[in-house]
């Protein structure tokens, strides 16, 4: 079998993953995009391992590493998404703009931080 088939599939998977990361607004789907990209890479590794007939199967070993790391990463990512949902009541990445460096964002942060108990001058 030509090595071309798994490469094309991997490229397609990677492109779908990139699209998911760049275009989806739901944070869970963004994470799924990340997973797609990782697996595209895994497919590449396995394909080249077979194609090059590597005696120590370093491609397959590396794939196992990537799977383990991906599992840890998705666990962390989902935990972050959960925390974001708890604090913002949504997980829309387009609306998560607190890290922008703009006057509007500064004001927004100041407004969010301005709870009655700790705002300056509003003490009992």
């Amino acid at each position: 079998m030509s090595v071309l088939f798994p490469l094309v599939v991997a490229a397609l998977l990677f492109a779908i993953g990139v699209y998911g990361v760049l275009a989806r607004r739901n944070a869970v789907l963004v994470l799924m995009g990340v997973e797609l990209m990782l697996n595209a890479v895994n497919l590449n590794l396995v394909a080249f391992d077979a194609y090059l007939r590597d005696v120590v199967h370093s491609g397959q070993v590396l794939t196992l590493f990537v799977i383990a790391i991906a599992a840890a990463e998705i666990g962390l990512g989902l935990a972050i998404v959960l925390m974001v949902f708890r604090s913002h009541r949504h997980i829309d990445v387009d609306r998560l703009r607190e890290l922008s460096d703009s006057a509007a964002a500064d004001e927004a942060i100041a407004r969010d931080a301005g709870t009655p108990t700790c705002a300056p001058g509003s003490g009992a």
């Binding site: 990361v21 998560l96 890290l99 460096d101 703009s102």
Partner: protein, 611 residues
């Protein structure tokens, strides 16, 4: 007992005084440490009086790779005399200051600095290592800077302090290099070794001449001799007891002491002696003439100090060692007396200008009597100490002129005799203007408290009895280097007649114009002398203004040339930051898109370049 205690005790007292702060008792603590220092000074000095060789103690030695620096002290007759003079005047000044500073806030720093000053002077006179001497020498320079600037709220005090510091420092550069020359000639920094090398002839004339000419730079600066004489009168805005301390026993005396200490090296360097003779001849007459024209009592006394120091240098420059040391000691007594008396007058009147004084004879009787003794000693009237010491100096000059026929002797003798006349004139004038004539100013004047009187009485007694030193030439000159006799009857009669005549003429002039300043009618001459012949102004034009211009140039260069680059770097970074700030929109997907596009671009470019 180690002589080091005379140095340590006042320094410890300074720490104690600083710890006491502005309490009223700080002055008494200072006086207590002054007494302790004086007693230690007695213990160290009295056994050494008349001892030519001296005892040398080495505390510790620092290896330097070449000649080691030794913390060594030597107590011989000269050092003993100087220790006695310095500690006695310091004790009296500290006692006097208790009364003088009664209403003063900055008691602690004042007392501490006077004690450090005493400690440094003791270090200078006891040291037997040039670097240890230099430490004391420079500490005195720093202390005089702080003490002259004691009233730093006043512009003249600040300016005078800076001037004193810069001019003495200018000379000190020469001193430092003189020390290096002496050390390279003898292979050690020991002062006594330098004297021995010169006396035994192992030091060549050229080495001795180079070393002494350089050392004389420092001496001329420290002792305010021409051409570095302008700082001493400008140091007058400092407290009056400080003037007594600086003029009588420390600071300016240190220069004379150093020349006396290095007398053997001076003897091996005739050129340096001639230079010193010319400097002394010019300074003594010039300073005395300046003193005639001054309005300010303290300025008169300051110029008289410069003039009297020149007498000492004159004696030392013709080899009349004993006469020079004698005049140093007697001048220490009567100049301290005059300054403390002036302090009592200033204390009562509230100003230093002689225009606000007058008629103080009846109001301040004790100050009048003691200060009169001081003026008599300054003018050289029998039987005050100044008469004997000045007679010894002039006798030494006469010997040099007649017996050796040296031109330096003749020059100094003529200058010295003229200065005797001028000294009598300005002493008489100041005495008349302060104590006689019509009273000015406030009606209610009161004498100073007893702690200010006691030093006056002690110093007046010393100024009267100090002439007895003439009976102890061994104390003044244990080696017998100078002319053997200190008494010259014919010369004494001649100078006394000249002094009395001058005083009489001054009095007649003062009486004739009805109690107005007797020099007032000299017109332009007086104005020229009042302006000190424009020497200060010439220095201002030649040195100070170019320095300021250079400083302004440096400031302008920094502001207009260097600073734009510095600012430019900041402004560029700030602008870049503002521009890049726009990119941070807060949408993580945009960032990722930028990364992807960037990676694609780099990959494609690399592929295209590689192809």
């Amino acid at each position: 007992m180690s002589p080091g205690w005379v140095v340590v005790a006042p320094a410890a007292g300074a720490v104690f005084a600083l710890a006491m702060g502005a309490r009223p008792s700080t002055g008494w603590v200072g006086a207590g440490f002054g007494l302790l220092t004086w007693l230690l000074g007695l213990l160290v000095a009295v056994p050494a009086l008349g001892d030519a060789a001296g005892t040398r103690t080495v505390l510790t030695s620092f290896p330097t790779g070449a000649a080691p620096i030794e913390v060594a002290f030597v107590v011989d007759s000269l050092a003993a005399l100087m220790v006695l003079l310095a500690t006695t005047v310091a004790l009296l000044v500290l006692l006097y200051s208790v009364g003088y500073l009664a209403g003063e806030r900055r008691r602690a720093s004042y007392t501490a600095l006077v004690l450090v000053f005493t400690s440094a002077m003791s270090l200078v006179v006891l040291a037997d290592d040039f670097f240890v001497l230099l430490v004391g020498w420079e500490v005195m320079g720093a202390c005089s800077y702080f003490l002259i600037g004691h009233y730093w709220e006043r512009f003249e005090a600040r300016a005078g302090a800076v001037k004193a510091f810069l001019l003495t420092r200018l000379g000190d550069i020469g001193l430092l290099f003189g020390i290096f020359v002496l050390a390279s000639a003898t292979g050690s920094f020991s002062i006594s070794a330098a004297g021995e090398a010169a006396a035994s002839g192992t030091m060549s004339t050229s080495q001795a001449t180079a070393a002494m000419l350089l050392v004389l730079c420092g001496v001329v600066g420290k002792s305010a001799q021409f051409p570095l004489h302008t700082w001493l009168p400008d140091a007058m805005p400092g407290p009056t007891p400080i003037s007594a301390l600086i003029h009588a026993a420390t600071m300016v005396a240190a220069g004379v002491y150093l020349v006396a200490r290095l007398d053997d090296v001076m003897a091996a360097a005739p050129v340096a002696r001639s230079v010193l003779a010319v400097i002394a001849a010019v300074t003594m007459l010039l300073a005395a003439l300046f003193a005639v024209a001054q309005d300010d009592l303290k300025r008169v006394l300051a110029w008289s100090t410069v003039s009297q120091l020149a007498y000492m240098f004159a004696a030392l420059s013709v080899g009349a060692y004993a006469a020079g040391v004698f005049h140093l000691v007697s001048h220490g007594a009567f100049k301290a007396l005059l300054f403390l008396g002036a302090g009592a007058v200033v204390h009562a009147v509230g100003g230093t200008s002689m225009e606000v004084m007058g008629g103080l004879r009846r109001r301040l009787p004790l100050t009048f009597v003691t200060t009169t003794i001081g003026f008599a000693a300054l003018a050289g009237l029998v039987p005050a100490a100044g008469f004997f010491s000045k007679d010894a100096v002039l006798g030494g000059l006469l010997d040099a002129a007649l017996h050796e026929g040296s031109w330096q002797g003749w020059l100094l003798l003529v200058s010295g005799l003229l200065t005797v006349v001028v000294t009598a004139a300005y002493s008489m004038r100041a005495w008349l203007l302060v104590f006689f004539g019509r009273p000015h100013g406030a009606d209610v004047l009161h004498e100073a408290p007893w702690m200010m009187h006691a030093p006056l009485i002690v110093l007046a007694a010393c100024s009267l009895a100090g002439g007895a030193l003439v009976l102890a030439p061994d104390v003044l000159d244990p080696l017998g280097r100078g002319p053997a006799d200190l008494v010259h009857p014919v010369l004494a009669i001649a100078t006394t007649a000249a002094v009395l005549l001058t005083a009489l003429v001054t009095y007649a002039e003062w009486w004739r114009v009805d109690g107005i300043d007797p020099v007032a009618r000299f017109g332009p001459v007086r104005r020229g002398l009042f302006a000190e012949l424009g020497v200060g102004r010439a220095y201002q034009a030649a040195v100070v203004r170019p320095t300021w211009a250079l400083a302004r140039l440096v400031v302008a260069t920094d502001r207009d040339v260097v600073e734009p680059y510095v600012r430019g770097a900041g402004v560029t970074a700030g602008g870049l930051g503002t521009a890049l700030r726009w990119l941070q929109r807060g949408n993580a997907q945009v960032y990722v898109a930028a990364v992807v596009v960037g990676a694609l671009a780099i990959g494609l470019t690399a592929g295209w370049l590689g192809a």
